[in-house]
Amino acid sequence: MGHKTEEQLLQIDYAPPKRDWTDPSVDFEARKGTWSYPGKAKNLQYMGFPNPRDWSPTDADWQLPEGWEKIIHDGFKERLEKYRSLKVFMDICVRCGACADKCHFYIGSGDPKNMPVLRAELLRSIYRQDFTTTGKLLGALGGSRKLTPEVLKEWFYYFFQCTECRRCSVFCPYGIDTAEITMLARELLNLVGLNINWVMEPVANCHRTGNHLGIEPHTFKDNIDFLMDELADITGVRCEPSINRKGAEILFVIPSADYFADPGIYTFMGYMLLFKYLDLDITLSAYASEGGNFGLFTSHDTIKKLNYKVYHEAKRLGVKWLIGGECGHMWRVLHQYMNTMNGPVDFLEVPKSPITGTVFDNARSAKIIHICEFTADLIKNGKLKLDPSRNDHRRVTFHDSCNPARAMGLFEEPRYVLKAACNHFFEMPENTIREQTFCCAGGAGLGNDENMEMRLRGGLPRGSAVRYVRDKHGVNTLSCVCAIDRATLSGLCEYWAPEVGVSGVHELLGNALVMPGENERPTDLRGTPIAAREGADHA
């Protein structure tokens, strides 16, 4: 080593060493906070999933089953034959880069393997090696890689770092749905027992009790009674929702977080006030007690199984049609998969509002409408008496939840409800809402707390937009129509846009809805004093 001058010694290169993308190694120990705990053996056993065992990603040996290479290869082959879309997505990408800077995880981290194109390439490289002649002949030169345990570890890391939000697919000129690539990659990982507990436990619970939290019917009822007591204290109105009532006109299906978690419970109170106001012939079910379907993050068979429970219950109760609550991915399942999995739903009727007579032709196939569609129609027809000043202490913006926005095009209805229920509504910047909305970074099973650093990293784009409207318009409420959003955006705002709270749309509707026989209502549903009554200014 030659002599270096003082100036040369001071020129230290701090840049991280360049890495070839084909190198699959991931240091899980060093990257704690960016991956999720693996599925517990008991949950895999309950679902009959292969290779149940207790393990950790930091283990050197992931205890893959005997013949895992063949299991993955055969599973890949089967899916390429079964899903033409997968074959097309593997072949058609020209690596134009349109998707590269659209993923919230890439935008927040700069990790090249969070670019949707490169994330897909992790799978595509194995596809080339195993299923294409050029890939076999050209090897690494043609972008092929051999399947090794390290590649599986890399798949586990990066395919459980995609929230299946589909923002990238909005920009793909070929229409490649990278969320579907993630879904299929996760299916393959499941074949050898690689999955995460935040997905597997809700799946197993939902399969057993009908909801992610594993709540049994008596607890379901007790908890709803408890919430109705609280609601009566606040409003003076006693709501007595029916549960498992046969012969009701409508079955109402909601995410379990709405009757258990903060702040979802206030949205639940809003639903109940609305139904009481309308004297609607509607029932909840302690069995179809989950709108969410974590099968979407597991495998197509699991989606089908969990989705079927809801329709089976609709049949058992003899309802005519369904309303779905403020849930996110539930709507992707219903709009994009349900009909070919468990449809056609020929034992139900096309939803028709008993209040306005509106027929929801858009739901002719699945026979379920979003509660925002139902409520927007009521408002449009002048059926609700609202006092938006009761939300004057809130300056509201709306986060388009990925699945209702991009999978069903639900843009206007929630805004219509919010603008009727609140006097102060402000949009976030155009390139962060509607079909371009940024994910909460906690969807697709990633909303657990051990993955918090990754969630906050991926939550930066949404957080920046929230902070912008907070600073510009004094926004203090981020409203949304998804239970996962309500849970994860709360933490996201605490970090990126402090002092902004999260609420459901029907919580704000419940605040504004003038109920016959109600109390003076000095507070909103959270017990926060209503500014208009207090004569106070907004926050």
Binding site: T34, A100, P112, Y259, F260, A261, D262, E499, P529, A539
Partner: protein, 210 residues
């Protein structure tokens, strides 16, 4: 889209010595070069593929990492050139540190950019043929960077602690109504006095206060 805006940095109450004024004047003449070099140094901790993206777009919503860091480095540089008290620059400093605290960089790599200002200044002065000014007035640079570095430690630790607070609150929020029914939580008395803030502060009985 507007980049994050910061209040104009205030000069410290003590008027800089004439020599220091001259040093800062030379650097102010090369502000663009100073900011560009400092930004490049900050960006060097990211993978090469990402640096281009972070530096390319100034839209704070398309590229919040790049736009925020660029805006904040500019504000810090202006503060330095104005001889401002580093304590008055916590806003832009926090914007950078908060991002880097969740990017898996580790504390040293996350905060290295603060200390790299020393090398950036040396380089800019050398290019301007004024290296001798640093020999006379380098103490200001040393102590200014040290003060900014100490402030960045505090902000980094606060950001990391906030992550754990959010994790704690997540766990409580998830089963909030169960805990409440079991009488296991107490509402914070103050929470009702505030119109709308983040999550309701909750104390889990028998646990550490959040």
């Amino acid at each position: 889209m507007p980049a994050p805006r910061y209040p104009r940095a205030q000069s410290s109450r003590r008027t800089p010595e004439p020599g220091l004024r001259a040093l800062l004047a030379v650097l102010a003449d090369h502000r663009e070069r100073l900011v560009e070099s400092w930004l490049d140094a900050a960006m060097a901790s990211y993978p090469a593929e990402a640096q281009g993206f972070f530096l390319k777009s100034t839209d704070p919503f398309r590229n919040p990492v790049g736009a925020t860091i660029a805006g904040a480095i500019g504000a810090l540089a202006d503060g330095f050139l104005a001889g401002a008290d580093p304590a008055s620059l916590r806003g832009p400093l926090d914007d950078i540190v908060r991002i880097r605290a969740v990017q898996g960089l580790g504390p040293a790599a996350a905060l290295r950019f603060v200390f790299e200002l020393k090398q950036v200044v040396r380089t800019v002065l050398a290019e301007a043929g004024c290296s001798e000014k640093l020999a006379q007035d380098g103490v200001f640079l040393e102590s200014w960077v040290d003060a900014l570095g100490l402030a960045s430690f505090e902000l980094y630790a606060a950001a990391r602690e906030r992550i754990w607070e959010i994790r704690n609150r997540d766990v409580t929020a998830r089963t909030y109504s169960l805990l409440k029914r079991a009488g296991a939580v107490e509402e914070d008395d103050d929470s009702c006095g505030r119109p709308v803030t983040g999550r309701r502060p909750v104390h889990v009985k028998g646990g550490r206060e959040e």
